[in-house]
């Protein structure tokens, strides 16, 4: 990915740039809002990491100007301001994510991967469907029988994985790798509990509809249309 880092703290910007390059990305740094705006308007970046407290114009101003100039690049805000009101304001202003300082560099990379996944999802015909269930990865909307479901990020990722493998058994190991991005035993029943939560929203909330999510004991989990045989 080509990433623009707008950060006035030179040492932090340098570490972030170095880490991004190390992770296989291309990164540019702007140390103020005006330079950032100029670079963003003239270079096709995949994502912009934007600090909120910048000299001159704030990150909010830069974000507003970007959108006014018609630059649609996804923006991830980075800030030492951790109050919920700042997060809400940032997301409402059009940012796709908000990362609070200090952050683990792994977390930054994970969030960038999430932005990339979202960007790579084709805008047309991207809605995943199974029976009366529909998941729109672009707009992050899920409906069952035309009723919207409110899922957490983990539940959304779980459902997306199961939907993309509809009719096939998905093992716990695969879920751990794809959703939690770990390739080892997590030492917890976290997957079972999240799937139970998903089942509550997906199936138990619709007692009149046939269940879609099945547990295949000893193997994994399966999402399939009622009556369809597993692949």
């Amino acid at each position: 990915m080509r990433i623009l880092v707008v950060e006035d703290e030179a040492r932090l910007a340098d570490f972030v740039r170095q880490g991004l390059v190390q992770a296989g990305h291309v990164a540019d740094v702007a140390d103020n809002g005006a330079t950032g705006l100029e670079l963003a308007a003239t270079t096709p970046y995949d994502v912009i990491l934007l600090d909120l407290m910048l000299p001159g114009q704030s990150g909010f101003d830069v974000l507003r100007n970007l959108r006014e100039f018609g630059v649609p690049t996804p923006v991830v805000l980075i800030s030492a301001l951790s109050d919920t009101e700042h997060v809400i304001r940032g997301l409402d202003a059009g940012a796709v994510d908000y990362l609070r300082k200090p952050f683990a560099f792994e977390e930054l990379l994970a969030r960038l991967r999430a932005v990339q996944r979202k960007a790579e999802t084709p805008a047309d015909g991207a809605v995943l469907r199974l029976a009366d269930l529909a998941l729109d990865p672009v707009h992050r909307r899920v409906t069952r029988a035309e009723q919207p479901l409110r899922l957490t990020n983990r539940e959304f990722a779980l459902l997306e994985l199961l939907l993309r493998n509809a009719g096939r058994v998905v093992t716990k190991t695969r879920i751990a790798e794809k959703v939690w991005e770990v390739d080892f035993d997590m030492g917890s029943n976290v997957i079972e509990v999240h799937l139970s939560q998903l089942r509550r929203k997906l199936d138990r909330a619709f007692p009149d509809l046939p269940p879609l999510l099945e547990t295949i004991v000893g193997h994994g989990y399966l999402l399939r249309s009622p009556g369809a045989a597993p692949a």
């Binding site: 703290e9 992770a23 919920t84 560099f105 983990r154 997590m186 030492g187 917890s188 976290v190 139970s196």
Partner: protein, 446 residues
């Protein structure tokens, strides 16, 4: 309100002062009136006694023989005749007359009058006749007693009436003060936009309300200043932490990093993360102590918050070799509460970190989300086994108390979590049984 408090209250003291002044004035006026009435009664009694004595004297005759009237019942009479050149001769005295005293010095219980006249005897000689008449002073004393009783009753009645009136008037006069007091009680240590209503009375009450509002302005300005300072401090502290943490994260993934440095870097990263959480905790504590921590309440799903918190700490549980077992009660349809998601997450992270610190190696920590059977309140409960009993659990929520001085931590976590829980409606419910400690965050349902 007890009698003691009532007497010490401003209203009670007003009633007391008003009653005392009114009572004193009534007492002085009553005393003066009593003296005047006493004098009138004495004069009337004197006149009646003297008139009776004159009437009796008129009936005294010496010619041809001394003739004397007899006193009525209750009267005592003495008649003495003095002829020129002869010693005075007592013509009559009632039995017991000796005890009545003289007009100038009557004996107690008696009143005496003296009258005299000149009468001619059978020889045509003029004689001086003296007549002393005494009667009991009891009727006069009884009259005076009744007057006194009336005055005392009037005094007591006046005092009572004065106190009641003063109490009522005091209450009426102090009503704006009570209103101000009620309003002021609702204002927290860090007032926002709320101000006291200023009554347009043009008196001290109006002045007091204005003064209090000026004080609230100053407090609000101070709170805002402190809030700004804390925000700036947060920024100043988090930025260098972010620099170091990002630097360590980058170095950790450098391809040419010698393998023996990896564990060192991992430890440093973990410490940096702990430092970051500490900064958050200290800032939170400062705002809690200053009562300037705002709660952004909105409907949040407690089960989702708990699972997200568990997700964040899973790597640390795994590294520490302590399994984290999660359970969400399946019967409940939802766990919606009205709360500040960030602050509740802080509480859940603190409870989980606390359990991680205190659970013996290899023992499992449990996070359970459910609804209480009796209250139907959603709860999140973290349970961990203990190496040894914690003793008095009440101390755990005291600031800077550490159950295990050899474990990590500042001793702020449970205090801070408890304060946030209290702000949401109920303190943490702490329990220890069979060497297992559990801390429950209970929240009223949305």
């Amino acid at each position: 309100m007890s009698i003691r408090n009532m007497l010490h209250s401003l209203r009670g003291q007003l009633a007391l002062v008003f009653g005392a002044v009114f009572g004193l004035v009534t007492l002085l006026a009553g005393g003066y009136q009593y003296r005047q009435v006493g004098q009138v009664l004495h004069q009337g009694d004197d006149q009646r006694l003297r008139a009776r004595a004159i009437a009796l004297l008129d009936r005294v005759a010496l010619d041809p023989l001394p003739t004397l009237p007899l006193p009525s019942a209750g009267e005592r009479l003495r008649v003495v005749m003095e002829a020129p050149g002869q010693a005075a001769r007592e013509l009559f005295h009632s039995p017991g007359y000796e005890g009545v005293g003289t007009p100038a010095a009557p004996a107690p219980g008696w009143r005496v009058a003296e009258v005299r006249t000149e009468l001619l005897d059978a020889n045509g000689q003029s004689n001086q006749v003296h007549l002393w008449l005494a009667h009991s002073a009891a009727p006069l004393a009884a009259d005076l007693g009744r007057v006194r009783q009336g005055l005392v009753l009037a005094l007591v009645g006046s005092l009572g009436l004065a106190a009641v009136l003063a109490w009522a008037l005091g209450g009426r006069a102090l009503r704006p003060l009570r209103h101000i007091s009620q309003q002021a009680r609702r204002v927290g240590a860090a007032p926002g936009e709320e101000r006291l209503t200023v009554p347009a009375t043009g008196d001290e009450v109006q002045e007091l309300a204005q003064t209090l509002n000026q004080m609230l302005d100053r407090l609000a300005a101070g709170a805002k200043l402190q809030d700004n300072f804390l925000a700036a401090a947060a920024h100043e502290l988090r930025t260098p932490l972010a620099v170091v943490q990002a630097g360590l994260g980058v170095v950790q993934h450098a391809p040419d990093l010698p393998a023996h440095l990896l564990p060192v870097l991992a430890t440093q990263l973990e410490e940096m993360q702990r430092l970051g959480r500490l900064v958050d905790d200290f800032l939170l504590v400062s705002r809690l102590r200053a009562d300037t921590l705002p709660l952004a309440r909105r409907p949040v799903a407690l089960d989702e918050l708990a699972l997200a918190a568990a997700d964040r700490l899973l790597p640390r549980f795994r590294t520490a070799g302590r399994p984290l077992e999660l359970a969400v009660e399946e019967q409940a349809t939802d766990f919606l509460v009205l709360g500040d998601a960030d602050k509740l997450t802080t509480v859940l992270l603190n409870l989980l970190e606390n359990a991680l610190r205190h659970a013996p190696p290899s023992s499992a920590v449990q996070l359970r989300v459910g609804r209480e059977a009796t209250t139907n309140w959603p709860y999140a409960e973290v349970t961990n086994p203990l190496r040894q009993s914690l003793g008095d659990l009440g101390r755990l929520t005291a600031a800077h108390y550490q159950a295990d001085i050899f474990s990590e931590g500042t001793g702020l976590g449970l205090w801070l979590s408890n304060r946030i829980a209290e702000m949401h409606g109920a303190p943490l419910a702490l329990r220890e049984a069979n060497l297992a400690f559990s801390a429950r965050l209970r929240l009223p349902p949305n």
